[in-house]
Symmetry: C2
Subunit: 450 residues, 2 copies
């Protein structure tokens, strides 16, 4: 195991990626991630958890130099990365890499954006740093997943730091050994319990991943020592956290494409495993509305993760609704959508939705992937009206279109920065290249450039 040298091989690959190795398709995906990220960050920027974090940091006394997106307050760079990453996750509306269950954009974009205030960083280089950071966290995550997640760990808290450190390392110019050391530091900082789901503390996981990534890369650049072989070390990251995994998988097929091409962007602001069911609900909405009194019960056939992650039968709050596939399906059937409006306390308690929710029966289909579902309305007559969802909207084989993505971003951004700035932000993200400094986006989103 000690001879496997996975850490070194992986860091050599990541550090060795030239600009020319990162193709236009990957860059385009990175822009899509950034668009989605800015939307969910602005959408999350008014969350009460953010108010509390900012108040707390102000009381404790911190430097105020770096931008908090969508807010007037400033913090130091480390906490700006923390809070911008926090905001990206707080609506449970951010993207997911389904092979690892990592929410990849949150910690990595927060890291790059925070560093753009200290390092001159043009748009294209920022996008490249993102592609490489994405690769690091998801390749490590897909090996750790799924046993580790079932055990009770939150994947993004466990792996986001690798993505953040890798992106920060590219921006700072770390060499291979320095990145190995940064990996050691983030590995020993990695944590995050699923017991936090449904509380403000859940979003602290991607948040601290971003912060630890910047800190680790900065320390490693200055000569701080750490295990150089943390992934394969006898008491290292994998053997301690998930001993039964095949660590070599981390470096399998390097250079044959980027994980970013497999990203999923959420059309609905709740656990990604509920999405195919929601889509089934939306498709059956008209039928359900017309034949409501005839429906005896509703069968949702799903992947095995669905009851595990979102099995709450009688949610009472908006937040609990995000972890209830029963509520999500009912909202799809009644409202025809599943955005932030479907996850308020009052919507979760709405009698019509509760009545539909109570009719839902969950059935795990061991052949179904996370992006697959089948929803059936079973009428009192015994007749079944069935809708199959082979690839949920937003996943690799059925991605959001450019305009769907723009609409998602716009709908949240306009509420915080107004329609003009929201449009400007969206246009500017599509136009990111070597001539544009990334920090221009911060100016737009915080009202300076308008």
């Amino acid at each position: 195991m000690e001879d496997s040298k996975v850490t070194k091989k992986f860091c050599e690959y990541l550090v060795g990626l030239d600009n020319k190795d990162i193709n236009d398709k990957a860059i385009h995906e990175a822009k899509r991630c950034l668009m989605d990220w800015f939307g969910v960050v602005l959408g999350g920027s008014t969350h009460k958890g953010v108010d509390i974090i900012l108040k707390t940091l102000d009381e404790l006394g911190i430097a105020k130099q770096a931008t908090i997106i969508g807010r007037k307050e400033k913090t130091d760079v480390l906490h700006a990365a923390f809070i911008n990453s926090y905001m990206s996750h707080v609506l449970d509306y951010d993207d997911t890499h389904l092979d690892s269950f990592v929410h990849p954009s949150g910690p990595v974009w927060a890291t790059i954006v925070a560093l753009s205030e200290k390092y001159p960083l043009n748009g294209k280089d920022a996008l490249r740093a993102f592609v490489v950071g994405f690769e690091a966290e998801t390749r490590i995550g897909r090996v750790l997943f799924r046993h580790h997640e079932e055990q009770g760990f939150h994947m993004t808290g466990m792996t986001g730091g690798f993505g953040a450190a890798t992106a920060a390392g590219r921006i700072m110019g770390l060499n291979v050994e320095q990145l190995q050391r940064a990996f050691g530091i983030v590995a020993t900082y990695s944590s995050g319990l699923r017991a936090m789901f449904g509380t403000m503390s859940k979003s602290a996981h991607p948040a601290k991943a971003a912060m630890s990534g910047i800190y680790a890369a900065s320390l490693a650049k200055n000569g701080f020592t750490s295990a150089l072989n943390v992934l394969e070390a006898p008491r290292g990251y994998f053997l301690v956290n998930a001993a039964e995994t095949d660590i070599e998988e981390v470096v399998e097929g390097l250079g044959q494409g980027f994980e970013i091409m497999k990203n999923s962007v959420k059309p609905y602001s709740c656990g990604v495993v509920t999405h195919p069911v929601i889509e089934g609900g939306i498709a059956l909405r008209t039928t359900f509305s017309e034949q409501s009194s005839e429906v005896d019960h509703i069968v949702a056939e799903v992947n095995s993760m669905v009851p595990d992650v979102t099995g709450k039968k009688t949610p009472q709050t908006g937040l609990e609704g995000k972890f209830s596939v029963y509520h999500c399906l009912a909202a799809g059937l009644i409202d025809g959508e599943c955005g932030p409006d479907q996850f308020t306390d009052s919507r979760v308690q709405n009698l019509k939705i509760v009545a539909a929710r109570d009719k839902v029966r969950l059935l795990v289909n061991p052949d179904f992937k996370e992006y697959e579902a089948r929803v059936s309305l079973v009428l009192k007559s015994g007749e079944r009206i069935v809708h199959n969802v082979p690839f949920a909207l937003g996943t690799e084989n059925n991605p959001l279109t450019g305009s769907q993505l723009e609409n998602k971003c716009f709908s949240m951004a306009k509420q915080v920065i107004g329609e003009e700035a929201a449009k400007h932000l969206i246009e500017s993200i599509w136009c990111l290249d070597e001539t544009v400094e990334l920090r221009k986006l911060l100016e737009i989103s915080n009202g300076v450039a308008i």
Copy 2:
């Protein structure tokens, strides 16, 4: 499991401890811990890791308000807690609670000292906060230990945050529910891999424990939500990290005494499990010196943790020497002591020490506790010269005397702040009471009050 309410019971106990509940013996032990802590912090204050951390934070840009002990630089309160805790551990010379293998003083005193710059805090209240913080981290640690430590986690990284949050919570006046929430936050921040041993990253574990404890208590006070039942929750701290443990042990025998009475203070600056062997070496020093050429080999009978934690046979650096019971025993036999001078690169490579080291044979005795050892010089004639160590110096049944403790603190403090200030510091610690502000110690140790 969800009905066990361990988190709530434990927090009720910790919050409910009145000043009168914390007896004079416990307060005296807290003073001894503080004395030892100041010594090792000052001793560690010139470590290269500290230079790198301070340089890195300066580059990243942080506020500069709070005292770094023994240094001119300042940082914000969060990082002052981080660095002061870092320094306490970097010489591997700080105290140990043997039932949990937690190094208890580091994170808790660093937390209290950092907060003393924001909250008016007299000496007696600081000592009380320490006793309660000590109780929290060690009661949780002793349940997690030993399986979890064997698995590859560093106990202080995993549990120090609970101590820090509890002490911070007492100073900030948290109620029971707020402390439960702070526990949730530190639990989800808890991490620390043993793969970091022998690198600068090891001391980041108690460091980040202190920082997360302050942050968690501050967030919880302001209403940040977290799991209220993190210790017993289905995907909570114990079930995820050490499922086979009996969680109820956390609250067994509450009120029947304080864990601080079982603390061990290190007379030697290396892994605590090597200490009984070192003592055997020191006791046999004269004999060994006189009969060196007659000694065929040396047998060290030890507790089972010794090879596991300190089994390095051929250390090359001072730092590696700390994790080599072979070197430690040789240093005891040759030098008659095992302080920082025995853990330089050149001392570890010294030919006389290497020759003695190569004669050592390790033998695990399953009946031996961590504080127990037997060292035998086996002569070429077959004769054995044996020294038994039933209770190593510094452990519960054979504590350092007050003057031994003073000497340890003085020897390190004088090198950084001079003899006068070192004496003043020691006297002031013994005199801590309601009339003295804790921050006076910071002024003394940083040259303001002299």
